[in-house]
Subunit: 123 residues, 2 copies
DNA sequence: CTATTATTTAGCTTATTAGCTAAATAGATT
DNA sequence: AATCTATTTAGCTAATAAGCTAAATAATAG
């Protein structure tokens, strides 16, 4: 379960153009990264990529992208898995499910509340 | 439909502790604001409040809260409705529904993609 | 028309964030 | 061991954001 601090970190991580684009492209599979052939192919999913191949898509220096990825990892919206000397990056789907649930619950509870209040005020 | 810029604004707006708390409390109805008796009660919902009554809940100066509210309004996560000389503030439920939908779709499409990829790689 | 209440705008200061380059670290390859 | 590749850390600068007070604006009330 995400507490307030967790959620703020997640929104902060997504509230920056560069990080948002990185995150979005993790989903659409826009980064190519050669995966070591000695590892079984299904060990790392298609969307996985490494820091360098993400950085190549941007006009920013590699350390800048590295810092952004660290922030996204700290916010738990991505995972970074070391494999040999590369780090494979994937979106954290469990957290996305939680966030989706938070918004859905928020809307539902609000609408229930509004209905309750309408019952009350309209005599 | 929300474009990328819209979404980044929304996440930026929610990625700050003060704004997050303001927003959250709009849902839980934690702000009291005297509603003009000459207007029908159901004209403004229970969760509506005004700038001053929000500012009272924080140790920040009123203009600071006013600026935060402006940013939240620009991000369209709240509405601000002038009524006499007060401004009533409500969460924007339609936008929340859209955001909930974005995350739900993201997760769904990703999981469909992963299943497809598994079918491909596992001989 | 003056005063009061509610809110915003302007202008300033400080803190945080986002970028950079150079150097350090980690692991793999020769 | 030396080198190459991948990534992070350190230390810096510039831009942005968040706070403040004082003044301006808007509407209502007296």
């Amino acid at each position: 379960m995400l507490n307030m601090e967790d959620k703020i970190k997640i929104f902060k991580a997504l509230g920056n153009e560069t990080r948002f684009k990185i995150f979005k492209t993790l989903f659409t599979g826009g980064y190519a990264c050669s995966i070591d052939e000695s590892k079984p192919k299904d060990d790392i999913i298609a969307q996985a990529t490494c820091v360098t191949s993400i950085a190549e898509q941007f006009d920013f220096a590699l350390p800048t992208i590295s810092r952004h990825l660290k922030e996204m990892k700290d916010a738990k919206i991505i995972t970074m898995t070391k494999n040999k000397n590369k780090i494979y990056i994937e979106p954290n789907i469990e957290i996305m499910k939680e966030i989706a649930g938070c918004f859905t619950t928020l809307v539902k509870e609000y609408e229930d509340g509004v209905i309750f209040q309408f019952d009350n005020t309209k005599k």
